[in-house]
Amino acid sequence: MHDFVQYVQSYLSSDQTPGAAGNIFWAVVYVLLVFVGLSVAVIAMNWLERKILAHMQVRLGPMRVGPHGLLQPIADALKLLLKEDIIPDGADKVVFWVAPFIVVLAAFTVFVVVPFGPTHAITDMNIGILFMLGVSSLSVLGIVTAGWASNSHYPLIGALRSSAQMVSYEVAMGLAVVSAIMMTSLEGNGTLSMIGIVQAQLAQHEWFLFKFFPLGFIAFGIFAIAMVAETNRAPFDLPEAESELTAGFHTEYSGFRWSLFFLAEYSAMIAVSSIAVTLWLGGWLRPFPNLLTGTIWNLAFSLIPGLTFLFLGAICFYNTARMPKHPLFKIQTIGLAGFGAVLALIGLVMFVPAVRDRVGDIFWFSAKVAGFMYLYIWYRGTFPRYRFDQLMKVGWKVLLPTGLALLILTAVVGMRSELLAQVKEVLHR
């Protein structure tokens, strides 16, 4: 027993991720934390998407189920779990059963290397970004088999279109990622590891978004467009839009299996947003880590997580005051006030110094990813859908040549001193 306690405590003073330190207990703890965090994030995304889309369309969204619809995701989850599980006649039972699990597996395994902080990752593989790109490309297999196993026309066409789209935009994503990786090698050794990429941004005093302006920016733009297409979201959601193909490859899936696809889609969105945040937006770094240093600035920036949660709690209390005074609304008012109290309590806990130092990295990373989630919802509310041939044209004829040109330009600009030296040497001979 004492051995075990010592094993648990031996990790707390190390400066590595649990996977790199070989500590299995803490690795399992981190895995469970990632699971729980992802589930909470998906539930929150469900609610946020409906509310934000509604407000963008000048309506209110779900308001009945809980105070301001806060319990709507739970009601949705209950409905999905209790629905009848229908398997179409003539469908291949084994493949029909396995397909959602492949997609969920691919979407969740990606989070093994996502860095929430310099030691807050499950593990830090040396090929981190390569692993993430590879495993997220495994979800295409799940979609293709799902469409095939449904033994029906709409899912098959939806699956083929969806996988063609995902494979095309993977190429553009890969090129944008490579041009970001090249920037890590400008100072010291280049690296493929996710934590190493953020540390390279810290060492070079610049987010890769602003590096060699506008090259980093265009690379980020290519990745931002390709990642929306990769996750089958608007405006690239032709294969699964309801008015086009009656929900595409997951038409025949009902209840729990559909919720697995839904979970996998939102997890994939969070995963590719994490890649974008790590590669271009500085990962877990707070704004201006090298410019505004010193204890006062560190203290000021470390107060922001707590202030954010207090602000959210204040919004909840304000809305509690605005609730109708009818006796039937009493439970909702109390519920909203309770929720606001919980948020305010979390904010107050984040002011404690011991928590403040640890939670800063995770907060900044999550805030940046949350910004990307808001962008996803904003795109859905704003853009009309691409037709399939327009979609493929954009992927192959616009993004791919731009990505290639960007790669060459980034390489040339990054190596300009060596290239100039070689040109001078050739001219002087």
Binding site: V95, N126, T145
Partner: protein
């Protein structure tokens, strides 16, 4: 498991190896015996992913990453696409194995016998010492492969790299031409 052992060498290696080897062999047997081509493709994907894990055990992380991206995420998607474009329901009701299956198995058995003979003679035994652990430098695998492929001093495979890209170009043109309805 004793937690005070160093993490290198890992203690569970024989279990991982035998488990992954079992997955690969079972996947291979399923590939060659299933009637339904989609089931064979799924079994092959399992084999490829287990092989990527074996590459990680051999301290070749870059090859493992390339295997997952290209083989499992690219080539197998291509296979699944083509399986869905050709109608295999009719083919599932036909005879699955050749008329010459006996000769095939005898030939494979002869090849297997040859391989066993090579691996079990004493000379073969000397050639295969245990895999060493001290030769791996953490974080240098990708850089090492890159320097073999691209660097000016020791890049002996640059020409092969360019020829491989030419080969891929030829393959793309060939596949497009052959799958077109009207050339």
């Amino acid at each position: 498991m004793n937690p005070s052992l160093p993490s290198n060498p890992p203690v569970a290696t024989p279990y991982f190896f035998y488990g992954l080897a079992a997955i690969m062999i079972i996947g291979g047997i399923l590939v060659i015996t299933r009637k339904n081509a989609v089931h064979s493709a799924l079994a092959l994907i399992t084999t490829l992913l287990a092989q990527a894990a074996l590459y990680l055990m051999l301290y070749a992380p870059f090859v493992a990453g390339v295997q997952i991206i290209l083989y499992a995420g690219g080539i197998m998607v291509l296979f699944l696409f083509v399986i869905m474009l050709i109608s295999i329901e009719r083919n599932m009701k036909e005879r699955q194995f050749n008329k010459q299956w006996v000769v095939g198995i005898v030939a494979a058995g002869a090849l297997g016998g040859l391989l066993i003979a090579v691996y079990t003679t004493t000379k073969g035994g000397i050639l295969f010492p245990p895999v060493g652990h001290e030769s791996y430098v953490d974080g240098q695998n990708t850089q090492g492969i890159a320097s073999l492929l691209f660097s000016q001093q020791s890049g002996t495979y640059m020409f092969a790299f360019e020829i491989a890209s030419l080969l891929l170009l030829v393959a793309i043109i060939g596949a497009v031409v052959m799958a077109k309805k009207r050339i």
